[in-house]
């Protein structure tokens, strides 16, 4: 069964450093998302991406964040200058198209900022 994959599974970085989290969505899916979950808290929407542009973004997704689809398979989230409060589990998700609403999530990348 096709699945969303994410790398790395765990990333430790120092405050102020840049990180890139990588995702490979399901191959025939066209809509991509990033969510995050701080330990013990709700899953929070960051950004949705469709047709090579951001469709929607949350207040969390400020200028420190960016997304890219550099090729036909990868979808990345970059945090330019990490802060302690960016420590969280980051989930990538994909859905078939803009008219199908069920989303398929990857296993997540645990980001620890020290």
């Amino acid at each position: 069964e096709p699945e969303v994959t994410q790398t790395p599974s765990h990333q430790v970085t120092q405050m102020g450093q840049e990180v890139i989290l990588r995702c490979v969505p399901i191959s025939n899916h066209l809509y991509f998302y990033w969510y995050r979950q701080i330990l013990g808290q709700k899953v929070e929407f960051l950004v949705s991406f469709y047709n090579n542009e951001i469709s929607e973004k949350s207040e969390i997704f400020d200028d420190q964040f960016s997304v890219e689809r550099p090729d036909g398979s990868n979808f990345t989230l970059k945090i330019r200058s990490t802060k302690l409060e960016d420590s969280a589990m980051y989930f990538c998700a994909s859905s078939e198209n803009r008219d199908t609403y069920e989303q398929y999530f990857g296993p997540g990348t645990r980001l620890t900022v020290t």
Partner: protein, 111 residues
């Protein structure tokens, strides 16, 4: 502001019984509501989607109801099994296919 609330207390249930979880929302008029399962340290897994014009949806041992007047969805697991132990998340769909999640209810099914 928009709010989605799920019972934050864990639900302990005996194997074979029906677990019923509640999702309430305010300041929202969603066209779709979804339920996901999340195991510790893992990503949410899609279970069911229900539309605003549907009262009830079933999938195997799962049943979801959606009452747009009460602004509430109920999620039922019938004939529960220990393997059903997980956190169950309610999510509403907004513009840009953005999902807004509730805090989840942890279910523990005891043999």
């Amino acid at each position: 502001s928009q709010k989605i609330e799920q019972n934050s207390e864990a639900l302990n249930i005996q194997e074979g019984k029906t677990a019923t979880l509640t999702c309430n929302y305010t300041n929202y008029s969603p066209a779709y509501l979804q339920w996901y399962r999340q195991d510790p340290g893992r990503g949410p897994v899609f279970l069911l989607l229900i539309r605003e014009n549907e009262k009830e949806k079933r999938k195997e041992r799962l049943k979801v109801t959606f009452d747009t007047t009460l602004k509430q969805s109920l999620f039922h697991i019938t004939a529960s099994q220990p393997a059903d132990s997980a956190t169950y998340l309610c999510a509403l769909v907004a513009a840009g296919n953005k999902l807004t999640f509730g805090g989840g209810t942890r279910v523990l099914v005891k043999p």
